[in-house]
Amino acid sequence: MTESPNVPLAAPEPHGHHHHGLEPAAPIVCAACCTRIESLGVTISGRPILHDVDIHLHCGELTVIVGPNGAGKTTLLRAIAGLIPHQGRIVFEDFGRGRTGRPTIGYVPQAPSFDRSTPASVQDLFSAAFSRRPAFTGASRHSRDFADACLARTGSAHLLHREIARLSGGELQRVMLALALEPSPNLLLLDEPVSGMDIRGRDAFYGLLEELRCHLDLSVLMVSHDMAAAAEHADRLILLDGTVLADGLPEEVAASAAYLDRLDPAPHKHVHRHAGGNA
């Protein structure tokens, strides 16, 4: 597991300096591709939840979405994942290969959890997702090796035969992440993946993400409530409240009027409260 240096509000570190973890594959070319979200809007039961959302995501970058409760953060991820209807376009462009189209998306929902009596193993979950052979007939050697390789990417191969209902929050996140990474996505969507983890687990998870996104040349779009950790690990921060209110380096967003108005816990926010409308 890579431990990244923990400097508060550090500028994004240059990619490609990791020496261990995944198999060395093709040479790493970060930001040779991007995903553009253009004029995205979501209306649910006649009520506009999101409007005019424009986000440009570079491959290899971690972008964290912050915003107050009810800002539409989860809705945005669900819309991008294709779970709910939306207006606007989502375009993936690969400059290296000259490809343009819909991105392949990996999605990990918020707080995935299982009833304690759920009779299914991690292998069953992977069989259900990838195998033609019905999971109740058992897994073939190929299917086991495949699941094992998927899990190895997130350091969770040892969980293959565990019952999913008995995994800890951190273990489950790694399993769900491994599932989302196959087939290899252009864009990975994570909804509050570190909530409920302790600081060690959280830092380990961010370290894993950093390793993955650079080796797989992957854009990561993640919702988080933990502003301090987000500022520490993210390349970019987006403040969302119905639409994008601020977008930039973590320290820029943290200093923006829109951020101070909505999320800053410092006492001076009360001064701004009445003056600041919707940005």
């Binding site: 669900r78 994942a81 294709g82 779970l83 998306i105 999605y107 990990v108 929902p109 995935p112 299982f114 304690r116 009596s117 759920t118 009779p119 299914a120 193993s121 292998q123 069953d124 979950l125 069989s127 259900a128 997702a129 195998s131 033609r132 019905p134 999971a135 109740f136 007939t137 058992g138 019952e163 999913i164 769900m176 599932l179 989302a180």
Partner: protein, 272 residues
């Protein structure tokens, strides 16, 4: 032992035995998903609404009550999924109101002129009344189910475990649910006259509920459920033969005993 074998001197017992060998695994396997998807109440309501289906069939002058029941069951099954999808009301309230109404209407319509006793066989069921044509019908239903189960089980499993992940991977969750509900409706309606609408839900739910607590993988879940269902079914037939009681009710009592044992064993495993 000789008395046990003597059972099979009767043609109706041989038929009943063959029927149970098909019915118990069929209802058991379906039940694993009914329990996992928390559809126990839906299956129960489906059984109760069968009366309305029979009544509708009678009103329309359809000679085979099965047609009315299956037709009504299909409408009910699809309606429930769509109602839940729209999210206008909590599913269990909708199901409760609808099935109560369907049952009341069924009783009102069928008891006109004091004729209800003619239909009481559907309440209790009589597996000993099964004939060769019924066996064939049951075999067709089982074959269709097995094909479905082999082809769609994985998609259904992912849909149940993590619906939003399934949907994001291109599985049409709504269609998976409709397809499964339709299948449950057909199987329940076809089976009702043999096991009775009062116990059909128990035959679906109890073996799976017992196996669930003792299983750590879908493989053991299926195998244990089918095993418990078969043992309960055959034991039910034997009890039915010797004590002259309905086989369906005897099935439920045996399966419920398995459930109680599973509760105790599961507590030891810390899964209660």
């Amino acid at each position: 032992m000789a008395a046990l074998l003597h059972m099979f001197d009767y043609g109706f017992m041989r038929y009943a035995f063959l029927a149970m060998l098909m019915l118990a695994p069929l209802l058991g396997m379906l039940g694993t998903q009914v329990v996992s998807a928390r559809m126990a109440f839906f299956a129960d309501a489906l059984g109760h609404s069968a009366l309305a289906g029979i009544a509708v069939g009678v009103l329309l002058g359809v000679s085979d009550p099965m047609l009315g029941m299956v037709g009504f069951g299909l409408v009910f099954a699809v309606g429930i999924v769509i109602g839940r999808e729209r999210g206008t009301s909590t599913a269990d309230t909708t199901i409760g109101v609808f099935s109560s109404l369907a049952m009341a209407l069924g009783i009102l319509l069928l008891s006109r002129g004091g004729n209800f006793s003619k239909y009481s066989a559907f309440l209790i069921g009589d597996i000993l009344a099964i004939d060769a044509a019924d066996l064939l019908r049951l075999a067709v239903v089982l074959a269709v189910f097995l094909v479905y189960w082999l082809l769609f089980y994985n998609r259904l499993l992912l849909t149940t475990l993590q619906p939003s992940v399934a949907e994001s991977r291109g599985i049409r969750v709504l269609w998976q649910e409709i397809l499964f509900n339709v299948l449950v409706a057909v199987v329940v309606m076809v089976s009702i006259r043999w096991v009775g609408l009062l116990v059909i839900n128990a035959m679906l739910v109890v073996p799976a509920a017992a196996a669930r607590r003792l299983s750590g993988s879908v493989r053991s879940y299926q195998a244990l459920t089918v095993g418990i269902s078969l043992i309960s079914g055959l034991a039910g037939l034997v009890v039915s033969y010797f004590a002259d009681v309905p086989a369906g009710a005897a099935f439920v009592v045996v399966a419920a005993a398995f459930y109680l044992v599973s509760v105790v064993l599961a507590r030891r495993r810390g899964r209660a």
